[in-house]
Amino acid sequence: MIPDSPLGQVISLSTKRLVQDVPAPNGGDAVLRDVVSGGPFDGAVTGFVLSCLPDSDAPVLWVSDRLARRENGRLYGPALRQFGFKGQVLRVEVSHPRDVLWAMEEGAACAGLSAVVGEIHGAPEVLSFTATKRLALRAEAANVPVWLIRSGDHGALSAARERWRVSSLPSDVHRWNTAAPGAPVWEAELFRARGRAPGTWEARHDAAARRPEDRFRLLSRSGDGPLAADREPAADLAQR
C-alpha cells in the first residue's frame, strides 16, 4: 500500500517500478458506488464499470432511463464478450429515473444477482440524497454491489460510499499499427470515498489477463513534469 500524506501520495523510490499499482476498487464489495462521466458521450464510464463487475454466473441487472439511452446509446451486447465480460445482462429499459431507482432498489434486495447497474442522465429531482442513501443501505443489507452511472451531471449530492469520475484518455499505442487507437486508457478519479484515500489514477483493462483480478489495473499518474510531458508525444505519435 502507498502511505498517504497531506501533500498527496508518497511514492517510495526503493521499489523497482516508478509508479506503483494501486488496488482496484474491489468490485465484490457490496456497496453503492457512483461513477460520474467526465465528459459528454464518453464510453469510458461503461468500460470502467464493466471491468469492475465481479466474475460470476449470476446475471447483472442493468437499468437505464430514456435520456441515458438517447444520449449515450444502449449497451451493446455483442461487444461484451470481447471486452472480457462473461456474465449475463438482464436489461431493464424504462423511461423515467423514478422507475430506474425503484428497479435498482428491487435488484439490490435480490441476492441472486451479481451486481446492479443503473444509468441516469442529468440530475433529476428524484435522484436526491435520500434516494441514494436508500440504495446504499439496501445494497449493504443484501450484499449486492450497486453501481450508479451518472452522465451529464457534475457533482450533485450523493450518499454513495465511493464516488468516481471517469473520462477517456488518449489510448495506448497500438501494437501493430501506430496510426490506430490501441487499448483504452481512462482517467479514474476517486473524489469521495469512505475508508480509503481519494486520488487520481490511469486505468486500463486487459481482457486477455488470465486471472480476473489482473484484468483491471490502476496506475498512479506521475506528478513528474518531464515524465508527464513524455506521455503526450507518445499519444500523438500517430500523427507524425
Partner: protein
C-alpha cells in the same frame, strides 16, 4: 367455414354470397379443398379436389387457408361449453360433438325442445348445426351426418331409421366402402339383411373401429359403446364475500392468497398466471392480471405482486365480492436444495423478474437474443425476460463498441480527406478533431433482407483529440450509382 366467416367478418368485408369460397389445406400434390360455402357446394365443388382444378372451372373462386388446428381447438371448447345441457360431452372426429343426454332431456322440456334450444344457441354463436337424437352413439352420429336435420329416433325404430343410409355413414375406410358397394350392399338396410356368418368371415381380421359389423352392432345397441368424456377443468379460485361494500381490496389480499395457496399446495401445483377480480355493487367488475416467471405458491410473494397492480383499479362505489384465480398452474413440488437452509439464488431472480414485470410491463425487462446478421444493429434483439431464455452471445471477431446508437446519427463532415474518415467532423453541435483511426471494415448490405439500392458501409474506429473513441461509418462510396455523395454516420461509442 363458420369460424372463418366469423373471424373474417371482424377484420374485413366478407365476399358476397354468390362468390364460391373454399378453404384450402396442403395435399400431396398442392393445395386441396378442405371446406366450402353454400355457393361452392351448389356449383358442384367437391371436398378433396385440387384447388388449381377448381380454379380452372370457376375463375371467380375465392381461396383461403384453412386453420385445422384452430378448428379442433374451437370444437374442444365448444364441447366443454355444451356441458350446459348434459354432464357428458366429447368431441367426435373433426366436425362433431357427442352429448350423452340420458336423463337430461326432461330438464329442457323433452328431446324436441332440447334440440331446438341447442340449434338456436349454436346459431347465436354463428355456427350452423345438424342435430340428431338416437339411443346409441353410432346411430346418432350417422343420422346427424347423413339423415337430414333434426331427426329424433326412438329406441324401437333405430333399424328403420338407419336402413336408408349409405354404408359410408359407418365411417369405415374407403376401401371397405368400395368393397361393400361392389358387393351390392349400398345401404345399411341391405347390409343388415345379409347373413352375418358370411360377412363375419369376410371382415374377421379387421380392427373393431373399421369393422362394419362391429360398428353396425354398436349403432343398433347390440354391443356396448360408452362415451369417454374428458374431465371438467378444475378452477383454482379463492373468493371473499363481504357483508357490506368496501373500497380497498388490499386487506383481503393476504387471506385470498393464503386460501388459493392452500388449495394448490394440496395438489402440489403452483400458479403461473393470476387474476384478481372485484365485483362492484353497481354490477360492474374489474380485473387485474399478473404473470409469474416460475410457478409459485408463496403467499407473501403473490400478495406483493398483486399490491403493485392495484393502483389503477377503479372500485366505484365499493365492491362486495373479491376473487383471486390462478389462470395457469404448473406442478410445483416442495424441494430443498441446500441443507443449511440458505435461499436459492435462481429462485430469487425469478421472484425479482415477477416483481419487475408486474410493475413495469413485460416488454421492458429483457434478455438479449441473437440474430445472424452482419449489420451491427440487427445482431441483438430483445426478448421479454418472462418469455425468453438466456442465450450465450455469439463471438464476433472484429472489435465492436460498448454502446450503440440506434438509429445511427448523421455527422457533418468539416474537413474531408480522400482516404479514411473525416479529419474534422461535427456531431451534436460539437466539432471533433480526429487523432487516430482504424479501418475501414466494410459491411455490405444484406441483399436477402435489405431493399435494393441500399448502400454499403465502411466502418472506422476513430479516436478524437482528447481521447474519446467513436465508431463512424460512411454510407456508400462515390460513384456506386446508388445516390449522391456518401454520408457519414456515428453509430457507436467505444470504451
Amino acid at each position: 367455414m363458420d369460424r372463418w366467416r366469423r373471424i373474417v367478418s371482424q377484420q374485413r368485408t366478407l365476399p358476397s354470397d354468390d362468390v364460391p369460397v373454399v378453404l384450402a389445406t396442403q395435399g400431396t400434390h398442392g393445395p386441396v379443398v378442405y371446406a366450402m360455402n353454400v355457393e361452392a357446394v351448389q356449383r358442384g365443388v367437391l371436398e378433396g379436389a385440387r384447388v388449381v382444378d377448381v380454379q380452372a372451372i370457376h375463375p371467380d373462386l375465392h381461396v383461403e387457408q384453412a386453420d385445422i388446428e384452430g378448428d379442433r381447438k374451437l370444437l374442444d371448447r365448444v364441447a366443454m361449453w355444451a356441458r350446459r345441457w348434459c354432464p357428458w360431452t366429447v368431441r367426435d372426429g373433426v366436425d362433431g360433438i357427442l352429448l350423452d343426454i340420458t336423463g337430461a332431456a326432461h330438464l329442457f322440456g323433452g328431446e324436441a325442445r332440447m334440440l331446438r334450444d341447442i340449434g338456436a344457441r349454436f346459431k347465436m354463436q354463428g355456427l350452423s348445426t345438424r342435430l340428431a337424437v338416437a339411443p346409441t352413439r353410432g346411430a346418432a352420429q350417422m343420422l346427424a351426418r347423413f339423415g337430414g336435420g333434426g331427426v329424433i329416433c326412438g329406441p324401437d325404430d333405430v333399424e328403420v331409421a338407419l336402413a336408408p343410409l349409405p354404408v359410408a355413414a359407418l365411417r369405415i375406410g374407403e376401401d371397405t366402402v368400395r368393397l361393400l358397394q361392389r358387393l351390392g350392399l349400398k345401404t345399411l338396410g341391405r347390409l343388415m339383411e345379409v347373413p352375418r356368418v358370411a360377412l363375419m368371415r369376410r371382415f374377421e381380421r379387421m380392427a373393431a373401429e373399421l369393422n362394419p359389423l362391429v360398428l353396425l352392432d354398436r349403432a343398433l345397441g347390440r354391443l356396448g359403446d360408452p362415451l369417454n368424456a374428458p374431465e371438467d377443468a378444475v378452477k383454482w379460485m379463492a373468493r371473499v364475500r363481504l357483508p357490506e361494500p368496501v373500497i380497498d381490496p388490499v386487506p383481503h389480499l393476504e387471506g385470498l392468497a393464503a386460501d388459493l395457496c392452500r388449495q394448490m399446495a394440496k395438489a402440489e401445483l403452483g400458479a403461473r398466471r393470476l387474476r384478481l377480480t372485484i365485483y362492484r355493487v353497481d354490477g360492474e367488475w374489474r380485473s387485474r392480471d399478473v404473470a409469474l416467471a416460475s410457478s409459485s405458491r408463496d403467499v407473501a410473494h403473490l400478495v406483493r405482486l398483486m399490491e403493485g397492480k392495484l393502483d389503477g383499479i377503479d372500485p366505484g362505489f365499493g365492491f362486495d365480492l373479491l376473487t383471486l384465480e390462478a389462470m395457469g398452474v404448473e406442478p410445483l413440488a416442495l424441494h430443498q436444495d441446500q441443507l443449511d437452509g440458505a435461499r436459492d439464488a435462481s429462485a430469487d431472480v425469478a421472484a425479482l423478474l415477477d416483481r419487475l414485470t408486474a410493475k413495469l410491463g413485460p416488454e421492458k425487462i429483457t434478455w438479449s437474443a441473437w440474430c445472424e446478421s452482419h449489420l451491427p444493429e440487427r445482431v441483438e434483439r430483445r426478448v421479454a425476460a418472462l418469455a425468453g431464455d438466456v442465450v450465450a452471445a455469439p463471438l464476433i471477431l472484429r472489435e465492436r463498441p460498448l454502446r450503440l446508437l440506434n438509429p445511427a446519427e448523421e455527422i457533418a463532415v468539416l474537413y474531408a480527406v480522400p482516404e479514411g474518415p473525416p479529419a474534422r467532423f461535427r456531431w451534436r453541435r460539437v466539432a471533433y478533431l480526429t487523432a487516430r483511426h482504424e479501418g475501414p471494415e466494410r459491411i455490405a448490405p444484406e441483399w436477402w433482407r435489405d431493399r435494393p439500392g441500399t448502400r454499403l458501409r465502411d466502418y472506422y474506429k476513430v479516436e478524437v483529440r482528447g481521447g474519446r473513441r467513436f465508431w463512424l461509418y460512411r454510407q456508400g462510396i462515390l460513384g456506386d450509382g446508388r445516390g449522391g455523395d456518401p454520408e457519414w454516420f456515428l453509430q457507436g461509442i467505444f470504451a
